[in-house]
């Protein structure tokens, strides 16, 4: 009798816990997007007020007039395509070499890859910046694209995924006269497609959200990526460099943040199955 009651009651508590968690996770995003359409003064006067009849695009219009968000988007898109293709093409290929071939110094090399996984990104910032100055690459796309592409985490992840592909499959292809790259392209890639899809979502996310490196290597606002442009708006709010009042800047800030959120949310919702399954397939078990 008592067990029957506790069994029936427990899922209710569990559902409540999950619903609460969902509210906490989603409310800041929803609040920011909704507020960005409100008149700027109302965001501050009544943060929780909701009156769709007052919704307008004033915050967005003012924001586009104040900061180069359009060119920020453009730069992010260019970096995304170039850096993303580099990583998605070459990281699984290198992961394949580490998983399925024996060659001298393989383990030492892979060990080095693992060690760089532990390094704070900021450690390399000074010498990388000096290197970029030496090359004359400050404020260029090369500087935004090349460092950090084909990264250690991607190699590590792809090695894990490819190690699970049975060797018999590769040997069978070899017997059929398939070349080494042919084996990778026609046998390995189709099998690990979920893992690559997961890597794709994570890579897009990392590049889109990258902040520290772009903020250091771009000083010219025509080269700045979306996230860097966004962060300058925050400085407006504390330093108030555009001479506007607090409400106006807040409205612009929320408008810019909402615009920055939306592309990634759309990509994620479309590809979320691949992403979650990719993590589930690629991470360490048990």
């Amino acid at each position: 009798m008592t067990t029957a009651i506790t069994r029936r009651r427990r899922p209710v508590a569990s559902q409540l816990f999950l619903i609460l968690l969902t509210l906490v996770f989603l409310s800041p995003v929803v609040w920011a997007i909704v507020s960005s359409f409100k008149p700027a003064a109302d965001i501050i006067r009544d943060p929780l007020g909701f009156d769709p009849s007052l919704f307008n695009f004033d915050n967005f219009e003012r924001m586009f007039g104040d900061v180069p968000l359009g060119s920020g988007f453009m730069n992010t898109a260019i970096v995304l395509v170039l850096k993303g293709s580099l990583t998605l093409f070459f990281a699984p290929l290198a992961g394949y070499a580490f998983a399925k071939y024996d060659f001298p110094f393989k383990n030492i090399l892979f060990g080095t890859v693992l060690v760089t996984l532990m390094l704070p990104t900021i450690v390399l910032i000074i010498p990388l910046l000096l290197e970029m100055k030496e090359f004359g690459w400050v404020n260029t796309y090369q500087a935004l694209v090349l460092p950090g592409s084909i990264d250690a985490f991607a190699i590590f992840w792809m090695r894990q995924v490819i190690a699970a592909v049975p060797d018999e499959l590769l040997d069978a292809a070899r017997v059929d006269g398939c070349g080494e790259f042919g084996i990778y392209w026609r046998v390995v890639v189709p099998v690990i497609r979920p893992g690559i899809a997961g890597l794709a979502v994570l890579t897009v996310m990392n590049i889109y959200n990258d902040f520290v490196w772009p903020v250091v290597v771009t000083t010219n606002d025509r080269m700045q990526t979306l996230q860097v442009v966004l962060s300058t708006l925050a400085q407006n709010i504390t330093g108030n460099t555009i001479g506007a009042d607090y409400a106006t800047v807040t409205g612009e800030l929320l408008a810019a943040s909402s615009i920055a959120l939306i592309p990634l949310l759309v990509i994620f919702i479309l590809l979320q199955k691949h992403f979650i399954n990719g993590i589930l397939a690629g991470s360490i078990k048990g």
């Binding site: 816990f17 800041p28 965001i43 450690v123």
Partner: protein, 308 residues
């Protein structure tokens, strides 16, 4: 004997293909070609800067002119600098506010999402990962507005319950928890998915056997689930320890390290050397941070390693 037969067989096989030696050569050479692009990027933009930083850490250099060799000077300067220790202390407090909370909430949510008795699991999975996907800078800015002392919706809600306005970002006692909340909000969904992947590899017959023996669900969680997801937990704790001690963008955007340096994390303290062009000290700080993070990681790996 064997040599001659091998030669013989090669002579026979040479006609159809280009011969086993060629194929062996291709097989031996292939991995080098496959890792070459990665290796080029790795050497140029990871290994070289790393060696450069190591050398830099023993010099006094401000980005121009010749570097002056100071031996261990930068290291002793940092180790006797109260600012360095308080930045580590701030990161340690943030770690305490973040990692245990995330492990408990993450494990609970992952167990529920792994249970067939819960409805709408797909929806929750998607909802939980949304913060992880959102750009940090955008979210950090939203945080500034949401937790504003005078105009933010959080104080608005609390005011409804009669709680007076709290200076979330303007007082040194609340700034750290507010920053911890941002980090938890952003990464707990990812932690849940990682833990879920560990749970899914547990053999469900273990739970059936335990139920038959009359073990309660709480008991099963403690005696079966936690020990079996130990490796996943370890992976998560190490990952988050790295992330918390390197935390930089969050305080950089939200608090600029204040008030009164209460949110100057180890990562932000390191960055401040760079903005002052004190590059030698910055490099030394980097290596001290790496050593601390490595020691902490090894400690957690040992602590959580399965006994067998």
């Amino acid at each position: 004997m064997t040599a001659s037969s091998a030669l013989g067989s090669r002579a026979v096989r040479r006609a159809p293909q280009r011969g086993p030696r060629w194929s062996l050569l291709r097989r031996r050479g292939a991995p080098y070609l496959f890792i070459a692009p990665f290796l080029a990027i790795f050497a140029l933009f990871s290994v070289y800067p790393l060696i450069f930083t190591l050398r830099l850490s023993f010099t006094n250099w401000h980005g121009a002119g010749t570097a002056e060799w100071v031996g261990w000077g930068n290291y002793t300067y940092l180790l006797t600098n109260p600012g360095f220790w308080s930045s580590l202390g701030n990161s340690a407090v943030l770690w305490l506010l973040i990692v245990p909370v995330q492990v408990v909430i993450g494990l609970l949510a992952a167990v529920l999402l792994n249970s067939a008795r819960i409805r709408m699991r797909g929806f929750y999975r998607t909802a939980f990962i949304v913060p992880f996907v959102t750009p940090l800078v955008a979210i950090a800015q939203i945080w500034v507005v949401v937790f504003d002392q005078n105009y933010g919706p959080v104080n608005d809600v609390l005011g409804f319950f009669g709680i007076p306005d709290i200076g979330w970002l303007t007082t040194s006692e609340w700034a750290k928890p507010t920053l911890a909340l941002l980090f938890l909000w952003k990464t707990t969904g990812f932690a849940i998915i990682i833990l879920l992947s560990g749970l899914q590899s547990i053999d469900s017959s273990l739970y059936e056997a335990a139920s038959l023996d009359g073990a309660t669900r709480t008991r099963q969680l403690v005696s079966i689930t936690v020990p079996l997801v130990r490796r996943t937990l370890m992976f998560l704790v190490v990952l988050q320890t790295l992330a918390v001690f390197q935390m930089f963008a969050e305080p950089y955007v939200v608090t600029k390290g204040g008030p009164y340096s209460s949110t100057t994390t180890a990562g932000l303290f390191l960055y401040n050397h760079i903005t002052r062009a004190d590059l030698g000290t910055g490099a030394a700080n980097s290596f001290l941070l790496v050593i601390i993070v490595l020691v902490l990681s090894l400690f957690f790996v040992r602590m959580l390693r399965t006994k067998d």
